[in-house]
């Protein structure tokens, strides 16, 4: 019971923290959704309307627009910056406070950080459901896609938490997190649909779990993935989660031995 209590408290605390400045929260949400969508749309506009092309990688202008609008919903749910917070705790010595408490610092930082994303996921789901009814998409597909996107959120944090342990050894480890986020931007399908990659380069995104964050959910929500493909994606996501859970245990066990608790 106590174990559940602190998790709920951390969630509440995280949500209150994220939404303390409501106008700021709203502006951030609108900006992070609207501008990337606008840029994607402009690219398709340039290719189809200005360039006069009728098809790109088997997709029409309408297909690409549908991808853009749907992917915006899932790109709001993907990742967060709480892996940076974890790294900063290690670097600055703030981790010491958490080592004395009966909670896992990795889990605590995640639960606190994911509260905002869960709230946003709820909003996106409602918007998506309304849109689904309007354009004739299957709302259950949207629900499944959101579950996949949330699994992607866990994977993203787990990878970040593993990378964060580099801070036990190296002051500038935040750079690796920055690089990870840049790579995720392009390989998650947030900037462009991943099927635009040339055939001989498709392996690049298939070998990482990043496509499960935005591209996979979008494809399923739009009905471009069947149930078997979706089931496979869920299984792959679970496998990555198990892999990273073990990875976190190993890297933290190794890293904590080197923790100096400077500052804090």
């Amino acid at each position: 019971m106590l174990r559940l209590k602190w998790r709920i408290a951390a969630l509440k605390n995280g949500l209150q923290d994220a939404t303390a400045y409501r106008i700021e929260f709203l502006l951030q949400l609108i900006g992070s959704a609207g501008v990337p969508a606008l840029i994607q749309w402009l690219l398709w506009y340039a290719i189809f309307k200005i360039g006069g092309q009728t098809e790109v990688a088997g997709m029409s202008y309408t297909d690409l627009l549908a991808y853009t609008w749907m992917s915006v919903l899932f790109s709001q749910v993907r990742g967060g910056d709480h892996d940076f917070a974890l790294m900063e705790m290690i670097r600055s010595g703030g981790l010491s406070n958490y080592l004395l408490r009966p909670v896992s610092p990795v889990e605590f930082v995640y639960i606190r950080g994911v509260a905002e994303k869960l709230f946003v996921a709820g909003i996106c789901l409602v918007i998506g459901m309304i849109a689904s009814f309007a354009v004739g998409l299957n709302p259950l597909h949207l629900l499944g896609a959101m579950i996949l996107a949330l699994l992607g959120n866990i994977i993203h944090y787990q990878l970040g938490a593993m990378i964060a342990t580099l801070a036990f050894l190296w002051e500038e480890a935040y750079a690796i997190l920055m690089v990870k986020n840049m790579v995720v931007q392009i390989l998650s399908g947030e900037l462009i649909p991943l099927n635009l990659f040339p055939a001989n380069m498709q392996w690049v995104w298939k070998m990482t779990p990043f496509y499960l964050y935005v591209y996979g959910p979008t494809q399923f929500a739009l009905g471009r993935w069947n149930l078997t493909e979706f089931g496979n994606a869920i299984l792959i996501a679970c496998a990555w989660i198990v892999f990273f859970t073990v990875g976190i245990k190993v890297t933290w066990k190794f890293g904590i031995k080197r923790y100096l608790s400077l500052g804090g």
Binding site: L27, G34, V35, I39, A46, E172, A175, I186, F197
Partner: protein
């Protein structure tokens, strides 16, 4: 006039020296940021690489022309990042924590000190990367080269000046809002519009990024000016828009100073 300019140059070089000494202490940071910048450039190139794998031209721009544009954009952005960006992130502290007090007492314009105090010398490598990329793709992009390379510093200056006045227009509201994070973030979201050539955009978006949010002046217009040249109307637009932003920024800076309540702001 000359003496005033000399004084400002001297102050600028002292700030540069101080920042260099501070950054020289953290040498590993230099290599780390270099690595991050290379990845950023690689991601931008990959994005256009994937798009051009599916289409021969993008709104009339060939792949080498877009890469030439990226080179100019990276160089221009590197100058802003090196000399000014950090000051804008610290701008809210100046107002909220009352750190502006000390700048107001100096015998030099406080805005000059506020915008040149902190530098990020490691970002200067991107300037070299950007110029190298521009040189590499200049010929296939149709840039005639030769003496026209002498125009490059001028266009880079236009890019930096644009970034300063627009970023300032997003930051100045700190005197009224007390929290500037959302507006700063919004600036960087709109800044994404600068990472693509303006020719890609439909009429109304193009109008916006050439007037109210002139992000096209950072890389796109300079690249277009170097490759194709600009019409007189476009030159006049640049002068008019940048002057407008300059007047707007100064007006609100003065208004903001009147609201400033020192350390208790």
């Amino acid at each position: 006039m000359n003496r005033t300019l000399t004084k400002y140059f001297r102050v600028f070089f002292i700030q540069l020296k101080n920042n260099f000494v501070r950054e020289a202490v953290y040498r590993s940071n230099l290599f780390t940021m270099l690595f991050v910048d290379i990845i950023w450039i690689a991601v931008e190139f990959s994005l256009f690489g994937v798009i051009y794998a599916n289409t021969p031209t993008l709104a009339g721009w060939t792949q080498p022309q877009v890469y030439f544009f990226l080179g100019i954009f990276f160089a221009s952005d590197a100058l802003f990042t090196t000399f000014f960006q950090r000051n804008f992130w610290n701008f809210s502290d100046l107002v909220n924590k009352g750190e502006l007090d000390i700048l107001l007492t100096k015998p030099i314009h406080p805005l000059f000190l506020a915008l040149t105090r902190w530098m990020n010398i490691t970002a200067i490598f991107n300037l070299f990367f950007g110029i190298a990329i521009a040189i590499r793709y200049a010929e296939p992009a149709g840039f005639s080269g030769g003496m026209r390379w002498a125009l490059l510093p001028g266009w880079l200056a236009v890019g930096v000046l644009t970034a300063i006045v627009v970023r300032f227009a997003f930051s100045i509201w700190i005197f009224w809002t007390e929290r500037s994070f959302a507006l700063s973030r919004m600036y960087y979201q709109f800044f994404a519009l600068a990472t693509k050539p303006d020719a890609l955009y439909p009429g109304w978006v193009r109008y916006v990024i050439l007037t109210f949010l002139p992000f096209a002046f950072i890389g796109s217009v300079p690249a277009r000016a170097l490759i194709h040249g600009l019409e007189m109307r476009e030159f006049l637009t640049i002068v008019f828009v940048l002057s407008g932003f300059f007047i707007f920024d100064l007006f609100f800076w003065k208004k903001g100073l009147k609201r400033y309540q020192s350390a208790s702001s």
